[in-house]
């Protein structure tokens, strides 16, 4: 540690490499790769993911369509990239909202017990009463095919886990000698959060966030697969699998693409999460 810091400033990537074990680094690389794919492909100016070409359906990968075409002759490169972008975007958005809300409410509830804490606890129990996917599914039924309903439902399920973790860690720390000592020395709330709470919460919340992202991606694709989530012609991984499954015999590589993309995305997040959440 010492010797390295003396060699001058570390690049951020190198610093990250030193902090994360190999498997988590691999997860991070997978995700960065998928992000480059998802957001990079449209920048390169490929085909429109929605443009049908019924003369060229189920074409094998070739010069014009690097990843082939689907049963309606749409470019699979464009569609898979679009689907990856959609899944990652939705995952990032809902995880960010869930972590923000869970963190703020969890710290508030754990800091000082009282009616606010009990109220939030009851709300969390309500959400947890049903398996998460069931809740998202019922919300999706109210406003079918809406991206924002999915976002809302998934965030609603995810914030509870963050909230419960943060609350229990905060409760434990607020009763600990280290916080008591700092309070006696006259330190205020901001200091207690910055020096005592956040360093303890950060790794656990990050792990939970990575698992949450995996959950979000799995939920969206599951709902798409059973035709309750996003609607055609949207390029969504689960939906693409439903559409391409009947053509498995003719075009196995077509079905393989959304399957592989989904697998790599979820694997990336699970690897990034590191150890099992408690």
């Amino acid at each position: 540690m010492k010797t390295l810091t003396r060699q001058g400033p570390m690049t951020p990537l190198l610093a990250l490499r030193r902090r994360l074990p190999a498997s988590r680094m691999l997860g991070l690389c997978l995700l960065v790769g998928l992000m480059l794919f998802g957001w990079g492909v449209p920048l390169l100016g490929g085909a429109d993911p929605y443009a049908q070409d019924l003369m060229h359906t189920l074409e094998a990968p070739g010069a014009l369509h690097p990843l082939g075409t689907d049963h309606l002759g749409r470019s699979l490169l464009a569609r898979t990239a679009e689907a990856v972008r959609l899944s990652l975007g939705l995952a990032f958005l809902s995880v960010a909202s869930a972590v923000t809300i869970g963190l703020v409410l969890g710290v508030a509830a754990g800091w000082r017990r009282g009616w606010g804490d009990r109220l939030l606890g009851a709300l969390a129990d309500c959400v947890l009463a049903l398996p998460g996917l069931l809740l998202v599914l019922m919300l999706a039924a109210i406003a079918p095919g809406s991206f924002w309903t999915l976002y809302l439902g998934i965030s609603l399920v995810l914030w509870v886990e963050v909230f419960r973790l943060v609350r229990s860690v905060t409760q434990g720390l607020m009763a600990s000698p280290q916080v008591q000592a700092s309070r006696l020395l006259g330190f205020g709330r901001v200091y207690l959060f910055r020096r005592h709470l956040w360093p303890a919460l950060r790794p656990q919340v990050m792990t939970l966030a990575a698992f949450g992202a995996a959950t979000a991606i799995l939920a969206v694709s599951s709902l798409g697969f059973v035709s309750i989530g996003l609607r055609p012609p949207t390029a969504e991984l689960g939906l693409m699998m439903t559409e391409l499954f009947p053509y498995y015999q003719e075009a196995p590589w077509a079905l393989a693409q959304p399957v592989l993309a989904l697998f790599l995305m979820v694997l990336g997040f699970i690897l990034l999460a590191g150890e099992e959440p408690k």
Binding site: C126, A129, L130, G132, F225, V226, I228, V266, L267, E276
Partner: protein, 315 residues
């Protein structure tokens, strides 16, 4: 002991009430979110497009309480639910309870087979890995578990269909009725469960085998086998069973998706169909059964942990 069980049952009863309230409220919102011509469409779905008329549509409207004030309708909706009146399916016209009673058995047999498969596959693998952490078996089972966890059950299902039905032609891809139909869906569901439970069992075994009391038992003079039997299995069963509760979420969610993939006529399949067909009473009924089943299974897990872990009975 008695008090611990009572308080636990009380808590789970409250959860069951919450499930009913959440499901009831969401389905109520669903009735209100139906677009204006929904009653026509539902009536058409029920009676066929030729027979549909204003009268039939009005009947549907009344059935869903669309003609009342929102609050009155909401209370009416919850009252019906509280008196176990789940109404009739808007699609088949049968009572929801009747439909559910047909489907429940199918779902249970699928879920039960999946759990048994998961335990048979996952537990021995986990225990063997946990006794020798870091060895090749542990590494291989970790890689397998990681791979399986990265695939949702329906993708596992697709892979199984492609392999066993489309390529090898050993087993039917979809349908029900014979034992051969049960294999693929329950395996699709069971593999994911096995992946998680093998890791839970592995970690529990490694923790127990590395504990002071495990070492002390050997030092007292008990043999390895006696120690495993008397101090190992009992102690590791506590976290393994407790984690079953967490896996129930996976099981219930998996049932919904897997039944749809394999056209398995259970509750999950019915739920998906009902959502697509906007059959509100059926949505409520199926979601309620899945939610309450979740609560019931959790209760059983709780009671099992209470029986296994005397520390819980003291608290």
């Amino acid at each position: 002991m008695g008090r611990a069980i009572l308080s636990l049952l009380g808590q789970r009863l409250v959860q069951a009430g919450l499930v009913a309230w959440v499901v009831g409220s969401l389905t109520y919102l669903l009735t209100r979110a139906l677009p204006g011509d929904m009653s026509f469409r539902i009536a058409a779905g029920r009676y066929g497009y030729e027979q549909v008329n204003a009268e039939a549509a009005a009947a549907v409207q009344q059935e869903l309480g669309l003609d009342q004030s929102p609050l009155a309708a909401y209370l009416q909706w919850l009252m019906d639910l509280a008196s176990f009146d789940l109404g009739r399916s808007l699609v088949s016209g049968e009572t929801v309870v009747q439909e559910l009673s047909h489907q429940l058995g199918h779902s249970l047999s699928l879920a039960l087979t999946a759990v048994v498969m998961a335990l048979v596959l996952g537990l021995p693998l986990g225990l063997a890995s946990g006794l020798r952490p870091g060895r090749w078996l542990d590494r291989v089972s970790l890689a397998l578990a990681l791979g399986l966890r990265s695939l949702p059950p329906f993708v596992v299902g697709i892979a199984l269909v492609v392999l066993f039905s489309l390529t090898l032609h050993w087993l039917p891809a979809a349908g029900h009725g014979s034992l051969s139909h049960l294999w693929l869906p329950s395996l699709a569901l069971g593999l994911g469960l096995a992946a998680v439970s093998s890791r839970v069992a592995r970690n529990a075994m490694a923790d127990v085998a590395g504990s002071d009391y495990y070492a002390f038992s050997r030092l007292k003079g008990l043999t390895g086998w006696q120690t495993l039997r008397r101090h190992g299995l009992r102690n590791l069963s506590v976290p393994v069973v407790a984690f079953l509760g967490v896996q129930l979420v996976y099981l219930i969610e998996g049932v919904v998706v897997i039944e749809s993939l394999f056209a398995w006529p259970g509750i999950g399949h019915a739920l998906v169909h009902a959502v697509v067909a906007r059959d509100v009473p059926m949505i409520q009924g199926t979601a309620l059964v899945l939610g309450l089943g979740f609560v019931l299974l959790n209760t059983l897990v709780d009671i099992a942990t209470l029986l296994l872990d005397p520390r819980r009975r003291l608290a």
